[in-house]
């Protein structure tokens, strides 16, 4: 069964204990054979791991560097653009708003049915002047076209 101080032994060899905790742990190790063994073996494993030396050969390293330097530059249209989420949300909202407004103003107004058009306004005769008739109008929506009849 392992001593409950083993985790502190692990932190001690990593230099991650405060001065007081480190002193306390060292005092414990001096009297605990299990922790003394654990410290020795943890340090041995550290040496074994560090002894693993498998560095890449210089040719491989040079090839990797050249590959990066050559492929590192990308044309503008292939670059990734990082945008924060609020910016994406705002752009999406503006796109929707712009689309909705475009649909509203670019779509031609539907023709008003005959029965829905207001009655043609009657224009009073101005006395002595030939009567003016409202011949055509476009449903009262925008303009009334008046045509003065020629006197015969």
């Amino acid at each position: 069964m392992n001593c409950e101080w083993h985790d502190r032994v692990s932190a001690l060899i990593d230099g991650e204990l405060s001065a007081a905790a480190a002193a306390e742990t060292r005092a414990h190790i001096a009297h605990c054979p299990q922790c003394s063994d654990a410290e020795r073996e943890f340090l041995r494993l550290r040496d074994e791991i560090k002894a693993y030396q498998r560095d890449p050969d210089p040719v491989t390293m040079k090839r990797a560097l050249n590959t990066i330097l050559v492929s590192g530059h990308r044309p503008l249209w292939r670059r990734e653009v990082a945008l924060p989420l609020p910016a994406i949300a705002l752009i999406t909202l503006l796109a929707f708003a712009g689309g909705a407004l475009s649909i509203r103003y670019l779509t031609p107004a539907a023709p008003v049915p005959e029965e829905a058009r207001p009655a043609a306004p009657r224009i009073k005769d101005a006395g002595g002047e030939p009567p003016t008739e409202l011949l055509r109008y476009d449903g009262g929506a925008r303009a009334a076209i008046l045509v003065r009849k020629r006197a015969r």
Partner: protein
């Protein structure tokens, strides 16, 4: 925004070997380690190393490398052949080794260590390798792995304990030198 070439060459020369060693132990595959090391540094080059404080560059690269390695680990589960690793690692220390049997045993042990490391859970393995190979502090390891310091402390302790247990179990089994020699010859 790409990094200045001269600056990047210096950063690459400094980081690439250590990154390869770390990834080689993490993945148990030298070829994959070199690919991921190259990809990580390529991303730094494209991101622009000048955008990072000088002291942060190393941790940024290791964080990217660790994420790429985890993707690799979860994508494939390979069977690592200990014999191939031992043969690849076995290098005579001198022209005429004084004790070839001890050399075989040493090579077997180095390959075994990598095998034992590879069988640790990924987080424990990563934390332990960053601590032992790269000598990072718990705070730095936590930043690379995106976890808390207390998790790093627990992972390192558990990784060490597990490695120690398995190493001791292997040591208790006597090594048959004749079998080792047969394996290396054939």
């Amino acid at each position: 925004m790409a990094t200045d070439k001269d600056d990047f060459t210096a950063i690459f020369t400094e980081l690439y070997p250590g990154l390869c060693r770390f990834l080689d132990c993490l993945l148990g595959d030298n070829s994959a380690a070199q690919d991921i090391a190259q990809e990580s540094l390529l991303r730094l080059y494209r991101y622009g190393a000048q955008r990072l404080p000088r002291g942060e560059i190393r941790f940024w690269v290791y964080r990217v490398a660790r994420n790429l390695a985890y993707n690799e680990i979860s994508k494939s589960s390979r069977q690592v052949r200990l014999l191939e690793r031992v043969i690849a690692l076995f290098r005579p220390q001198s022209a005429q080794p004084s004790n070839p049997e001890a050399e075989l045993v040493a090579a077997e042990e180095t390959g075994l260590l990598r095998e034992l490391l590879k069988n640790l859970p990924a987080d424990q393995r990563t934390a332990l390798l960053l601590r032992e190979m790269e000598e990072m502090s718990y705070q730095q390891i936590a930043a690379v792995m995106g976890v808390s310091e207390s998790k790093v402390k627990v992972d390192i302790f558990r990784g060490r304990s597990l490695l120690r247990e398995r190493w001791q179990a292997h040591k208790r089994r006597p090594i048959n030198i004749d079998q080792l020699k047969k394996r290396h010859r054939g």
